[in-house]
């Protein structure tokens, strides 16, 4: 595997008094599926938003291909080939699925009309339908607005969009939460396909079956910090759950710098005697917040 595509170190982000991230680290390499897991409120979505340019970190460093970047806007992240399925989907409810799929990258008519900015709606509708059908999501009416779609149909549109445009990396914040069984399977297949084409996939999910099924590596976020990293092949579901809840704690997984190193250290440093420690620490931290 090559150099990290995305490397984030010490990301801190507070909203008022709430510290969503308190020095989180994260790495993703080209052509791998990294699962980013953690309890509710651990800061996963916040981290994904920061790495896709939606939010700016209070402090911390982000590198793309080893070069430090500071995304000022989503456009910059998109320019770097990074796409995102947001947990709240971020669709325009009053627009059609096709309009959402192509938002910000509208297809124009060929020729003069295109120069005038005239949209090629037919082409956009067609491509959107195809992209959705690849996920098994059927849209009953093509002109129906997103506000009239079922929860799963909306999610299908959001996933199709991110996958359709990603060139380097795609963040998926709980992409299958609302999807049916068949659609979920297709999305997992799609994730594998995307990975095989060399794009990094970051999967945020609470579904451990899915995580085990599709990911190559797992990074665990807890109370705004990365607390463990695993190779999926060598970890059990219990270990993952333990790491998320703090029942199980790795040594600071990234203490010794380079990610190259990190990835060599397969498997967690299990530390049974620490089982109380993290919980107490967590309690102390929460005390702070009150």
């Amino acid at each position: 595997m090559g150099a990290p595509l995305i490397a984030a170190r010490g990301i801190v982000k507070s909203y008022g008094h709430v510290e969503a991230l308190r020095g989180a680290d994260f790495t993703a390499r080209p052509g791998e599926v990294v699962a980013l897991i953690g309890d509710n409120g651990a800061g996963k979505s916040t981290l994904a938003k920061i790495l896709s340019g939606v939010e700016r970190p209070d402090s911390g460093a982000i590198e793309i291909d080893g070069r430090p970047v500071a995304f000022g806007s989503v456009e910059e992240a998109r320019g770097a080939g990074i796409e995102t399925v947001y947990q709240d989907l971020a669709l325009c409810a009053e627009l059609s699925p096709a309009a959402n799929y192509f938002l910000g990258r509208e297809r124009l008519r060929p020729g003069l009309l295109g120069l005038l900015g005239v949209l090629d709606n037919a082409a956009m509708r067609r491509e959107t339908r195809e992209a959705c059908e690849r996920l098994g999501v059927r849209l009953k009416s093509e002109t129906a607005l997103v506000s009239t779609l079922s929860g799963g149909q909306r999610q299908g549109v959001a996933v199709a969009r991110a996958v359709g445009w990603a060139r380097r990396a795609v963040f998926m914040d709980e992409p299958t939460a609302a999807l049916g069984v068949v659609q979920t399977r297709r999305v997992l297949d799609l994730i594998r396909n995307v990975r095989d084409s060399g794009v990094a996939v970051v999967l945020i999910s609470h579904n451990m079956q899915d995580v085990m099924a599709v990911s190559d590596r797992v990074e665990v976020l807890r109370l705004g910090r990365r607390v463990a990293r695993f190779d999926t092949a060598r970890v059990s579901m219990e270990e993952l759950v333990g790491a998320m809840t703090g029942a199980l704690e790795q040594d600071e997984p990234d203490q010794n710098g380079s990610d190259q190193d990190g990835s060599d250290r397969d498997g967690p440093d299990q530390d049974g005697s620490d089982q109380n420690g993290p919980d107490q620490e967590a309690a102390a931290v929460e005390e702070d917040e009150r």
Binding site: E75, A90, C92, S96, L116, G117, T143
Partner: protein, 315 residues
């Protein structure tokens, strides 16, 4: 999409309401209301408001509002009159009006987009500033248009229809198509529908807002120039209700004040409903006070019919 945006189904009902009003007045005053003389006057009186309302449609679809249009109109008219007076050139005067309108609009856009100040406050502020500015320029007295303008463009007709009407109609058609069919229009809807989604989708929200408010200002500038040609004076006190009239037209036409939804076609109908009501009742000789009451009531009823029909169609 295409249908929805050009508004075929959306504007059908309110369009029928307008048609119903026209038919009703035609039946009640068969020899005076449906004459080409009256209808032409009616269209001609509404033409300038149409420009303001079309620009307002864009603004409201982005979930914004523009209270400053009346002030910008007056400021632009004053600028045009001053420049025409100074240079004797109608073209330079027109350019001055357009530039002035655009400048105010861009100022609105910048304050809304970059300063994140509520659009209502921004445009209330620029309303005061532009009106005050116009008054400073004129000393509070209405300026008069050069006679060539007033008697030229102001009276000119083509195929029997005033040239001003042609201008306004043409611009409105362009604006309707632009909103319905182009990327610019699409982004306008996206911002109003979900500004955060638009931002995350890579729409340059701030730049787009500046353009939208700039467009509204530019149209107000043009309206100022046309108003100067048509009425021959700058009308410094005449435009304090323009903003509300334009907003009402937009909302009557089915555009939501919460953004993301609306058509220029609807706005056109929304402009004409109050105008037809007023004209019809005046022709019927209804007393002014009663007119106010009846126009208010019929307006509410018209929009009710629209909402109600739309709902029964949907469900």
């Amino acid at each position: 999409m295409r249908h929805l945006r050009l508004g075929a189904p959306q504007v059908v009902w309110i369009g029928l309401v307008l048609a119903g009003l026209v038919v009703a007045f035609s039946l009640l005053a068969p020899r005076t209301f449906p004459t080409s003389f009256n209808l032409l006057n009616l269209v001609s009186d509404a033409a300038i408001l149409l420009l303001l309302a079309a620009g307002m449609t864009y603004v409201i679809i982005t979930a914004g509002i523009d209270l400053s249009v009346g002030g910008v109109l007056v400021f632009s008219a004053v600028s045009a009159a001053k420049v025409m007076e100074a240079t004797g050139s109608l073209v330079l005067g027109t350019v001055a009006a357009l530039v002035a309108g655009l400048a105010w609009g861009v100022l609105n856009g910048v304050l809304v987009a970059m300063g994140r100040i509520p659009a209502l406050i921004v445009t209330l502020g620029t309303l005061g500033m532009s009106l005050g500015g116009a008054l400073l320029l004129t000393g509070g007295v209405d300026l008069r248009a050069p006679t060539e303008l007033n008697l030229g463009l102001g009276l000119a007709r083509w195929l029997g229809v005033p040239v001003i009407v042609w201008i306004c109609a043409a611009i409105t058609v362009v604006l309707a198509l632009m909103l319905a069919r182009t990327r610019f229009g699409r982004h306008t809807y996206a911002i109003g529908s979900n500004v955060e989604a638009a931002r995350r989708g890579g729409v340059a929200v701030r730049a787009h807002l500046v353009k939208v408010y700039g467009l509204a200002g530019l149209l107000a500038g043009l309206a100022g120039c046309l108003s100067l040609a048509k009425y021959g004076i700058t009308g410094v006190s005449a435009h304090s209700t323009d903003n509300l009239q334009a907003i009402a037209a937009v909302v009557i036409g089915g555009t939501s004040l919460f953004g993301g939804v609306g058509t220029v076609a609807g706005t056109v109908i929304g402009v004409f409903i109050p105008v037809v009501l007023q004209n019809g009742f005046q022709i019927l000789g209804v007393r002014p006070f009663w007119q106010q009451v009846v126009v208010g009531a019929v307006l509410v009823a018209a929009v009710y019919v629209d909402q109600w029909r739309r709902r029964t169609r949907d469900h």
